[in-house]
Amino acid sequence: MRYCFICIFLYGYFVSSGQENIPRDVLKSALYYERLAFEESDLSRKGFFLLQKSYIYKGIGDYQSALDILNRIKISSRDSLNGALKYEKILLNYLLGNYQRSFDELLKYRLSQGTSQEGVDNDILVLEILNLIGLNKWVEAKELALQNADHLSITSKQIQEVFSGKLKPKNPDKAYNLSLFLPGVGQMYSGHYLKGVLSGSIQVLLVGFSAYSLHQGYFFTGGMTGVALFYTFYLGGARNARELAMARNKEQARKMSSQLMKGIK
């Protein structure tokens, strides 16, 4: 208990200080809605006011605060506000980069809509595609987009352009193992040829240096400089390959999403 406190205090008080200023008119409107929600006894209307307050924080780009406000809303599952609330949760989680959470919220939304297929919600659909891209499920994203091309006011040719590259994300573990197997290959697999060549040649040079030194009888030099440096470059290179693969997936997902958004207008 005591250490729990200590941690909270250490992290909360000593390190962080100073905050960004929130514009006055934002605070003013946020306060009005908070006051209205506070004085309202009807849960449904209370929820409505809090939703408005969360729009304000979303407007200034403070997505986390907006989401926190939404989480305070308690309304019955039959309330007409539910649709807007769930949409906001999906959107805010996507904007915060929590793709899995956003996707879960989306499934919940689908469940609450029931089996009625009439009227596909465009915005939800776009967010679903974006989430699939963020989750590196690019083939599924493409299929979904093609299925609903006419809803999205985008031609299937444009969709083909957006998803023109290879639709198979790089596997970070595969990159790691490849680099362990043959230094530098993992980086090349991740799409960074020069980095792969650099990493590979450094390690070849170090192996050569160690072997030569040991052969000539320089045991200390070969062991301490050659082998030790090789060890750090060998494992470090493999780790680097994994990170590059992840970064590449992220970058490709960003490009696709950005192109898709341009296409949708």
Partner: protein, 287 residues
């Protein structure tokens, strides 16, 4: 549809709430204030209270809560300024604000002022009197005034479970600070020159000393190997010899500097610990 109906409702109630803005500080307002505190909306709270003050002028309630909100936002100087305007009329506000002011003065390093503010507390309960004693003891420790600390320490009451851990922590810190012997940079340097890492061992940093010794040994062995095999003019000896020399000199230099840095860090660590053990009970007991 429903949305437009609701926005109409909102419109009406907004006008209502705007109207009530001009009135005094009602009970409902006070509840709202506590609500803002409970949802951690400190920015909004400060803004709201400032708007209230424009109409009502500064009162005990607004000054106190502005101070508290600013404390939660970590704006210490501004928090202290608001607390200065709290009157003695409401004893709870008065005493709580004195405790938090004192604490924040201590964080800002103004121990004299902190002491003065803490002494202003009035008609305290036994528990809070003990809390004040703890805070004053912490302040004298921060000020390196060990005699004053010992005078407080002898009258510490161990019967309050909220305080007893923190009293013990202050006592421990006191022992650590009192028993520390100042380390000499000269000895550290000489020891490092005799055996690499010796200065670090002298400072009590066993791990660092070992790493220092290992680094120097690794380069020394390689230089020795070059010298033995190819003589003093070989590239291997010159390269590793110079690397060894740089690390050897750096190890002496580092030990000398480390004494100074270590003194600063020692004080910082202890001050942080003292402030922490002053802070937790105040946060728990003053509301």
């Amino acid at each position: 549809m429903t949305i437009s109906k609701r926005s109409f409702l909102i419109h009406i109630s907004l006008l209502g709430s705007l109207w009530s803005f001009g009135q005094g500080f009602s009970d409902n307002d006070y509840q709202f204030l506590l609500h803002l505190e409970s949802i951690s909306a400190y920015d909004e709270g400060v803004f709201w209270l400032e708007q209230k003050e424009l109409v009502l002028g500064r009162t005990d309630t607004t000054a106190f809560h502005l101070g508290m909100f600013e404390y939660f936002r970590k704006n210490r100087a501004s928090s202290i300024r608001f607390f200065e305007d709290v009157n003695r009329s409401n004893l709870n506000f008065w005493n709580t604000s004195r405790f938090y002011s004192g604490l924040q003065y201590a964080y800002l390093g103004d121990y004299g002022k902190a002491n003065q503010v803490l002494m202003q507390t009035d008609s305290l309960s036994e528990l809070h009197a003990e809390l004040r004693k703890l805070s004053l003891a912490g302040l004298s420790l921060l000020d390196h005034n060990f005699e004053r600390f010992e005078s407080f320490q002898t009258s510490f009451d161990p019967n309050y479970y909220q305080l007893v851990d923190h009293q013990q922590a202050l006592l421990d810190t006191h022992h650590v600070m009192r028993d520390r012997k100042a380390k000499s940079p000269v000895i550290a340097g000489v020891l490092s020159a005799i055996i690499p890492g010796g200065g670090k061992f002298y400072l009590g940093k066993i791990g660092q000393g070992t790493m220092s010794l290992m680094t120097s040994t690794i380069f020394a062995l390689q230089a020795y190997e070059g010298y033995r095999k190819d003589g003093p003019k070989s590239a291997s000896f010159i390269v590793f010899g110079s690397i060894f020399s740089v690390f050897y000199v750096a190890n002496i230099w580092g030990s000398v500097v480390a004494v100074k840095v270590e003194n600063v860090n020692f004080n910082k660590t202890n001050h942080d610990a003292i402030l922490l053990h002053m802070h937790i009970p105040i946060r728990l007991l003053c509301k």
